[in-house]
Amino acid sequence: MTTFLATDNWYDLRDLANLSREILEAADKILPFGVVYVLAAVIGFVASFLIFVLPSQLFVGVYGERKLIGRIQSRYGPNRVGPFGLLQPIADAIKLMQKEALTPTRSDRLVMYVAPIFFVAPAVLLFAVIPFGPNMVFADIPVSLMYFLAISSLPVLANFMAGWSANNKYSLFGAIRIVAMTISYETPLVMSLLGAVVISSTLSLQGMVLWADEYKIWLGLVQPLALVIYFICVSAELNRTPTDIAEAESEIVAGYLTEYSGMKWGLFYGMDIGYALAASAFAATVFLGGWTLFGLEKWVPPWIIFIGKTHLFYALFIWTRGTLPRLRSDQLMAFAWKFLLPLALFNLFIVVTERMIWSEEGYDKAYIYLFAIFNILVSGLLVFAWARFNGYRPDDVPTRPRLVKEARGYVPLGENE
């Protein structure tokens, strides 16, 4: 992958992997066997913490979210701690650490303690396969897409453990809801990603980025329906607001987190943002071309492009959170099974057909643009047709009440003044 970069020199910060490799090679000569693995892990951790986690989780996930939602809600958002309130997330973290971590008397103490740990671990593991740059990927395994899906199916168990162990009815509600919802939404999610896999014929995330670079088109444009379905499904699995029935504040207080406090709650809260960032990074990689930007990555460090895309996608989560009301749990289930899954299947069918045509034409580049235009049109059509088929009639809903001049008791429907 050196074709992307002019040099392999350590000072070429367009790919931080160069610097890391130089350090490791130098260290390998002087340090005893095995320590270099630890060093690699430390360097990777520190680097990712400095360039990604700190800016993203604290200043986009917490501060940016609160600020942006504040603007949506016509208020200021945090502006007291530090310049422009930038230190607010840190102040929040300090406050959380000082709080008492309560455990209800009749709870299952062990499970309640283990649940946050079980929740945090997959969030860290998820970033291992995300390519930040041409060489900046910790584990470039050939099935990294599968890896991502597999790891992201783990936190639901932690959520369940949290909800079940607290011995609280609201928590149990939240636990059952999140388990049911994850089962429902995993299916259309995988189906939609299958479309991307079929068209790019790779299971590797790095491979998908390279595919996007080779054909100079984002998979999100070839697979618009898959992108939309992915976004909806992932926001459902991550409990973002239009679909946050598992911790629906106005219904079941805080769902599975009702009995958590202090830093145990803080771990859940922070890692919720972590998962959302991971999902955004995944979407940026698969659907938005990853670290490539049509040649710009040769001059701008690719990891900056990638992080920018991730944050842009994350802004979508914030936007929906600030705007949309919440669906009821049965509506959410029905939406997954009756709407998203058939659409994902239709999409898969179309993609497979396209792929067959494409392979017979010898993988001509022009075809992919044709497919993109076709898919965008057909996706819109499909969504409206299927909504219509499912009985969606927006015009039947009156937005204004009837108006009557005089008080006169019951006015039957149809008798209007």
Partner: protein, 171 residues
């Protein structure tokens, strides 16, 4: 398979898998047993990675951990008044005896056989697996998909309540 890392990984995974499996056996709480089962599944997935079968490992995590255990949890929650103590029947002792005998036979076979092994791992990609599944084994593959569909329909039919059946009969 040589190498310090591989060896350490093997022993850690073996310990996790077997101890978690034992946890399923001895745990006095059904929910705890399920959690141990998850740990055991993850350990087996680790073995698959160690045996350079990444695809199977990921499938293991997605299907076993992500789907089957969740189903089991659901089943536990849907049977609220059944006993949750994960106790044994009267067949516990004979069953364990049988298991121990079987284990002895297996271990004898494993250690007594002269296995002809390759030293280097064969280069198996996901593509190969795809070709195998849709080439050589296409008939079993299709049968498996039919089986899955049948299981899906069967499970739905089994869990329908009488009310729903009555509603369908009316419709």
């Amino acid at each position: 398979m040589d190498g310090f890392g591989v060896t350490v990984a093997f022993w850690i995974l073996a310990a996790v898998t077997l101890v978690a499996g034992g946890g399923v056996m001895v745990s006095r709480n059904l929910l705890h047993a399920v959690l141990f089962l998850i740990l055991s599944f993850i350990g087996v997935a680790g073995f698959f990675v160690l045996l350079s079968a990444e695809f199977i490992a990921m499938a293991q995590v997605i299907i076993y951990v992500g789907a089957i255990t969740v189903l089991i949890l659901f089943a536990v929650l849907l049977t609220p008044r059944a006993s949750r103590d994960n106790s044994e029947t009267v067949w516990a002792l004979p069953g364990m005896l049988l298991a121990v005998c079987l284990a002895a036979i297996f271990l004898f076979v494993v250690h007594d056989t002269q296995w002809k092994t390759v030293t280097d791992a064969p280069l198996l990609t996901t593509q190969d697996l795809g070709h195998a599944l849709l080439g050589t084994w296409v008939l079993p593959f299709e049968i498996a998909s039919v089986l899955l569909t049948a299981a899906l329909v069967g499970a739905i039919m089994l869990t329908r309540s009488a009310e729903e059946e009555a509603e369908d009969a009316l419709a």
